[in-house]
């Protein structure tokens, strides 16, 4: 064979290789990462807690109030146990000062914590992605205005801003979710802008422009898929931060209103003040917050490693 033929032969296998998408590759790499899998198991377990805390999904069909499933009691059922009872075989995590079962409140707390965290990140995505896309695609004055706005928003610590917003709008489930969303779209916006900025200069964008593709089409079918991986990672890693923010706001008394349980609120209202004697009131919610954040962070880190195109094998 001549050298030219050899060169040609080298190129053949890449065409013969079965076509694999980035996401299928990523899934394989993710499954091989032990820490990420542990994180995923934690997350799935917590989602199970949140979804199956009570039978809300069949209760309306049966025409009754939801009844506890994984939880033992309803979260606001008071004086079912001796006030402040320590953990025992009936009350796994003890009872709080109103005689409510701490274990049941922890289970319902997972629902509050996870739903707020996930929804707030989705809302943040719906604000940050279009803003970043516009800034990155248009550049110039549009970019300047959006980025100055982003500068102003990021001049304060996230928690401080969320706290001020909560003070103004008042404590409630939806307000907490929105306050966290408003303070967490900034990073997604910055990231999307950066991605679009570099991507719009690439040859394939120019190519599709030259064949007459319209702007929305270029953005949706060329820029977005290429920019998506880091954005997915950012949203996943935003979830533990949102869990922390919800816990922190509820801890300070401007988050979730009692009697609805939230882990941060359980620590802030009864936990800290009674820690010297009723240690279980602060310990269990604290451990749950840490565990949840650990799970989502491991999943996020795993996703980042898995989605990094520099790690694609067979190249």
């Amino acid at each position: 064979m001549t050298t030219a033929q050899l060169e040609l032969a080298k190129q053949v296998p890449t065409h013969v290789l079965p076509k694999r998408s980035l996401y299928r590759d990523a899934a394989r790499r993710f499954a091989r990462n032990k820490l990420a899998v542990i994180g995923l198991i934690i997350v799935i377990g917590l989602l199970g807690f949140a979804i199956f805390a009570d039978d809300w999904f069949i209760a309306p069909l049966l025409g009754r109030e939801p009844q506890p499933l994984i939880a033992h009691y309803n979260y606001d059922e008071a004086f079912i146990g001796p006030t402040g009872a320590f953990p025992n075989s009936e009350f796994w995590m003890g009872a709080d000062l109103n005689g409510r079962d701490v274990y049941s409140r922890i289970v319902y707390g997972a629902r509050i914590s996870l739903s707020i965290a996930i929804m707030s990140q989705l809302v943040a995505l719906f604000i940050g992605l279009p803003m970043g896309a516009i800034a990155g695609w248009r550049g110039g004055k549009t970019d300047f205005v959006i980025m100055r706005f982003v500068d102003i928003m990021s001049a304060l610590p996230v928690l401080l801003l969320a706290f001020l917003i909560m003070l103004r709008v008042g404590a409630s489930y939806w307000n907490v979710m929105l306050a966290i969303a408003i303070t967490s779209w900034i990073e997604i916006c910055r990231l999307t802008r950066g991605q679009f900025f570099t991507l719009r200069e690439k040859e394939f964008v120019e190519a599709s422009k030259s064949v007459g593709a319209k702007t929305p089409r270029i953005i949706i079918s060329h820029l977005l898929p290429n920019a998506l991986a880091p954005i997915i990672v950012s949203v996943t890693l935003g979830i533990p931060r949102a869990i922390f923010a919800e816990a922190a706001l509820s801890f300070l008394g401007v988050g979730i209103n009692p009697p609805t349980p939230s882990w941060g609120q359980m620590i802030g209202r009864e936990g800290i003040a009674n820690m010297t004697y009723f240690w279980h009131l602060a310990l269990f919610p604290a451990v749950m917050i840490a565990l949840t954040m650990l799970g989502f962070t491991l999943v996020g880190d795993g996703l980042r490693d898995a989605l990094d195109p520099k790690m694609v094998e067979g190249k």
């Binding site: 304060l156 816990a247 922190a248 620590i267």
Partner: protein, 306 residues
Amino acid sequence: MTRYILTRVAGLLFVLLILSMITFWLMHGVPGGPWASGQQLMSDQQLAALKARYGLDKPLWQQYLIWLGGVLRLDFGMSFQHPDESVVGLIGRTWPVTVHLGVMTLLVAFGVGIPLGIVSAVKQNTFVDYLATMMSIFGFVTPHFVWGILFILVFALYFKWFPTGGWEGPLYWVLPVVAYAFAPVAIVSRYTRASVIEALRADHVRTARAKGLSNRSVMSRHVLRNAMIPLVTVAGPLIPDLITGSIFIEAIFRVPGLGSYWVTSTFSRDYPMIIGLTMLWAVLIAVTYLLTDIAYMFLDPRVRIR
């Protein structure tokens, strides 16, 4: 260079101005005024007189301009909670405690984080490295108030080695500082590890080894010096965070610092105090970011403006 700094400072002032407007608007919209808590019995006339004294009867934009005028003379007004103390005086009295806590935490963060990062970079993929990695994942992920609670339960209540809270002497400092330092230690050690590994692979390090320099002098002259530059970007955001203090650490360990005032002033609608503290926060953050960028230009000659 001068021009770059001037533009940055101008931009910073603009950001602070807008931010003060947003804060002013947010806090004045909070339901309930400073004297509406129902604790004091006041007639309507007394309330009106009190409001007039603090200028709360004027339209919001006038109040804002009056406040802004005061700020230009470095007068942030009088605290509502402590009518005999100015905001500046109150911050001056309580901030040193918070700064003390923050500086000790910073020392721990760098004093532990950098050696930990170097060791796990040099002994990459060994047991030591994995242990350090696990420690930093836990340190980074677990919120400091969770560490605080665990430490109090274990070291103060179970072993009784340390007091549960307060701020009276070195023994009282240990738990809050360690709980507060966990996350920064993790961040610093991860960054140190990454940048030392990168520096170890550089060509000039191989050259240094090839010409027979001892391991020690390769490490100190060629590896560590280059590896420390990226740390400036990590240190920047850490500093304002740590010296403005953590509301939670201060609440859990009953540290009489700035954080506790933030909470009480928001709940009692102490407007001058809220906006004073918010602006203190924002200024510190903005200034450290600016200083970080400038320091970066000095340390790394490759960084040029535009």
